[in-house]
């Protein structure tokens, strides 16, 4: 019997990646034609930043309209367009792609690879995302969509939403969905196959764990969205009747298929945020992460359960009690792995030496905020209570505590943490701290009172309310808070613009952090690493520092109480 010795055939793993450093291509064409994961990541992040500002301006317009009862600033048509655009922008064009962008930049660096598995597919993912966003925003020149980011049928059918704005929304969902799917496949292939020698599953950075799970969730969930928006498209234009009850279709079908995507979507945008918390907190507490395995397992557990809770968005639809009970219990169960993560972060801070850097403040502020969103989620999971709360401002408050507290705070934490790696320069810590406190105070001013607005009967998506409804004070406080958030965000934007030019030079590892991206230069050269890094623990940089210290005697560890260089 002929046998093949596959082990002997396998080429030896190269020790040196590159012999010489080629100059990086410059000019705008180099950005359009790039397949470098770091440049694509930066393109993603700038695009997301622009959409974040646009979505924020839409939110401010919404808040101004609601600041006074019976306000006539916006017409009902314009108001519906604005909240549709705000929701669609923030979900599809900000909180999901921001993690695709950050992971693009960091993933190969953190696992010690040269690039992602399919660099050209990666470039395609970015351009599909950009075109999806442009397709949606082009509708501003005609008629923007106005059926909400969830586009429930029958309101979104041709009969009730005849304008092309709805079609622009469908087009956006197709393009960004394609972008997410291609990006996810790329991340999965990269993480499974391209980890540095020694990086087993037990040594994968926790941020990369969340990106892996994020990618699997995208593959499972976005397919359902792609199918259902296609059905809406054919209902609108090609004579099918999937959603028309008078022709044997079902108006409830859309909700099931949409939330089968829509709830995993929540975990798609919040799990990588958890990953950021899990990276930032141990660095600034100067402690190893508490319960690495539990956090990684909880990530997978949340994702699995996250696929089974979609109908808790539909408790007030005509459903059997047994269905309601199932989705209440599945939603309860998901609180356990989420709680485990929160307890692990607290235990990581416990007995640490906590450095109050802006990245840490945003991470801790994000956790503190997310906890409130998690707790109000329990109220909403109890379906008889949800009958009172659903579709009110209580839910608006809850979902912003989750999406802003989870995802947006983590976004800012990641920005302040990895900006030195992205650009080679430090952000101003003092401006960052002002920005953090404004965003934190502004956020809670805006959204805490919205729980009460909802409890006193204010439904979502109303463009006006009567002056005797009793909701004026809540809304006025909310509007003031929104502008405080805007000011905080503005300061961070100024900080970024300023630091790009005059920020202190960061050096390879300004934070004395734990993971491999700090092993290379800031910003990293096109080929990432000169030598293949070796991984012996979940904190390879700590091992390297210890090694250098032992062989040279020079102090490498972080010393408590001593100011870090440049900061």
């Amino acid at each position: 019997m002929a046998s093949v010795d596959y082990a002997a055939r396998r080429a030896p793993r190269p020790q040196i990646i590159t012999g010489a450093v080629r100059p990086q291509p410059t000019g705008w064409t180099s950005w359009i034609t790039t397949t470098d994961h770091k440049r694509i990541g930066i393109l993603y992040l700038w695009t997301v930043a622009v959409f974040f500002v646009l979505g924020g301006v839409e939110a401010l317009l919404i808040r101004v309209q609601l600041g006074a009862p019976e306000n006539t600033l916006l017409s009902p048509e314009r108001y519906n367009q604005l909240f549709t655009m705000h929701g669609t922008t923030m979900i599809f064009l900000v909180v999901v792609p921001v993690w695709a962008g950050l992971a693009n930049f960091l993933l190969p660096l953190m696992i010690g690879a040269r690039d992602v598995a399919f660099p050209r597919l990666n470039a395609w993912s970015y351009w599909m995302f950009l075109f999806g966003g442009l397709a949606l925003y082009a509708s501003f020149f005609w008629t923007p969509p106005e059926a909400g980011w969830f586009s429930y049928v029958p309101l979104s059918t041709k009969e009730y939403s005849p304008s092309g704005g709805q079609d622009a929304w469908i087009f956006m969902a197709h393009l960004t969905g394609l972008s997410s799917l291609m990006g996810a496949v790329n991340f999965i292939a990269t993480i499974h196959n391209m980890r540095a020698p020694g990086m087993g599953w037990g040594r994968l950075p926790l941020f990369i764990w969340t990106i892996l799970i994020y990618s699997y969730l995208i593959v499972l969930a976005i397919s359902s969205l792609a199918a259902t928006v296609t059905m809406l498209l054919t209902d609108r234009h090609f004579g099918t009747n999937f959603f028309d009850p008078t022709q044997g279709g079902s108006a409830l079908l859309w909700q099931h298929m949409f939330w089968f995507f829509g709830h995993p979507e929540v975990y798609i945008f919040v799990l990588p945020a958890f990953g950021v918390f899990s990276e930032v907190i141990p660095v600034f507490a100067r402690k190893p992460i508490f319960g690495y395995k539990a956090i990684a397992a909880a990530t997978a557990g949340i994702a699995f359960l996250g696929m089974l809770v979609w109908a808790h968005h539909m408790f007030s639809t005509p459903s059997a009690t047994v269905v309601l009970a199932f989705f209440m219990l599945s939603s309860f169960v998901i609180a356990v792995p989420t709680g485990v993560k929160i307890f692990n972060w607290l235990a990581t801070l416990w007995r640490g030496t906590i450095e109050f850097r802006v990245a840490l403040l945003y991470a801790v502020g994000g956790i503190g905020t997310f906890v409130i969103g998690g707790i109000t989620g329990i109220f909403l999971a109890v379906f008889p209570v949800d009958w009172q709360l659903t579709d009110t401002y209580f839910v608006v408050a809850h979902m912003h505590y989750v999406a802003f507290g989870g995802s947006a705070f983590a976004m800012f934490s990641a920005l302040y943490f990895w900006f030195p790696k992205l650009t080679g320069r430090m952000l101003s810590e003092s401006m960052g701290k002002v920005s953090f406190w404004l965003v934190l105070v502004g956020f809670h001013t805006t959204f805490l009172v919205q729980h009460s607005a909802g409890l006193s009967g204010m439904p979502r998506r109303i463009f006006e309310y009567e002056s005797d409804a009793g909701w004026h004070v809540y809304n006025l406080i909310s509007t003031v808070g929104a502008f405080i958030i805007a000011l905080g965000v503005l300061i961070t934007i100024v900080n970024v613009a300023r630091s790009l030019k005059v920020g202190a030079v960061a050096g390879p590892d300004p934070w004395k952090a734990n993971t491999l991206e700090w092993f290379t230069l800031s910003p990293p050269p096109e080929h990432n690493f000169d030598v293949v890094p070796r991984v012996r623990s979940v904190e390879p940089m700590k091992d390297y520092r210890r090694q250098v210290e032992e062989s040279t005697g020079a102090q490498q560890r972080f010393e408590t109480g001593r100011p870090m260089a440049h900061v």
Binding site: R351, G352, T353, I354, P384, S456, G561
Partner: protein, 308 residues
């Protein structure tokens, strides 16, 4: 040692103080920290269930945020301090996983204890003739929608862009419906069959219990039984188009006699309006008919007259 004393004291005082605050605040706090509840059992039971969740939520909130803030102050980096290099603690981790699960088991039990009172219609105090019926009957079983002994008034609620239409049961074969304002007798269990003919709406009067979506092609059910006269406002809770904000609803509870008077008056009005409409239609048809028969003549006449 000295420094930890006030914090322990604070911690010992905080939990009971919060609970006491919560309990005393309850009557005044509907709408602020509790959902609204008018004089109907389903809304009151919902409020009670919410309060149970709230007490647990406050405990979890104070615990988690307390530890978080404590860590931030207590373990702030100072010169000479060394971070404890702990990687985990299996017993502790299993402990808090089980702890979280126990809270959720408690919530599940509380929900299923409260559910029948919220979901199943209560026994009506009066029948459709306004006569009292003994109200000591037990609730219906979980999957039974009809109230005990079948005494109830069934109102068909129909959502339309942008108005609610209510169709009342026929008494003496009278046809009664109304828009926006729903009139109900006090003490009567009112069951609602909620539907829609166009887009999705959601029926909600906060003080009379939870909301139920109105979907074309489906009938959704809920109920309430007001025990005193009054007026309760609400509005459509699901985005239904541009004037979603103006799709109001109101329930007006009247003593049975007043309600019956309203019912008869409404029936008479509808009947006379329909008769008037029928007369109008007839007249119009007649006029059209006359026009049709005369029209050929007079029309030709005018035409020929013009022509002359």
């Amino acid at each position: 040692m000295d420094r930890s004393r006030p914090t322990t004291l604070l911690r010992r005082a905080l939990a009971p103080a919060l609970l006491a605050l919560l309990i005393t605040a309850v009557p005044a706090s509907a709408g602020l920290i509790l959902p609204e509840a008018g004089p109907t059992e389903n809304a009151q039971d919902t409020q009670t269930l919410y309060s149970i969740v709230l007490v647990l939520a406050v405990i979890v909130f104070v615990g988690v945020e307390g530890v978080l803030i404590y860590c931030m102050f207590k373990y702030r980096a100072r010169k000479g301090r060394v971070a404890a290099q702990i990687h985990g603690n299996t017993r502790l981790e299993i402990g808090w996983t089980v702890g979280a699960a126990v809270i959720l088991v408690f919530l599940t039990v509380a929900t299923f204890v409260m559910l029948p009172g919220i979901k199943n219609p209560a026994a009506s105090d009066i029948d459709m003739n306004g006569n009292p019926v003994a109200s000591n009957a037990a609730f219906a079983s979980t999957d039974q929608d009809a109230p005990p002994r079948g005494e109830a008034m069934n109102v068909k609620v129909d959502g339309q862009q942008y108005v609610w239409q209510y169709t009342y049961p026929r008494i003496d074969d009278k046809k009664v419906f109304s828009y926006t304002d729903m009139y109900v007798p006090v003490g009567m269990t009112v069951t609602l069959d909620i539907g829609s003919n166009d887009v999705q709406h959601s029926w909600w009067i906060p003080e009379l219990g939870g909301k139920m979506d109105a979907l074309p092609g489906y009938t959704n059910k809920t109920w309430f039984k007001v025990t005193e006269p009054g007026e309760w406002r609400g509005q459509c809770a699901e985005l239904c188009g541009r004037n979603h904000a103006n799709m109001y609803a109101r329930v007006i509870g009247l003593p049975f006699d007043e309600w019956k008077a309203w019912y008869d008056e409404q029936a008479a009005e509808i009947q006379s309006a329909e008769e008037a409409a029928a007369r109008g239609r007839e007249e119009l048809e007649q006029a059209e008919g006359e026009e049709a028969t005369q029209g050929t003549g007079s029309g030709q006449g005018t035409n020929s007259g013009d022509g002359e």
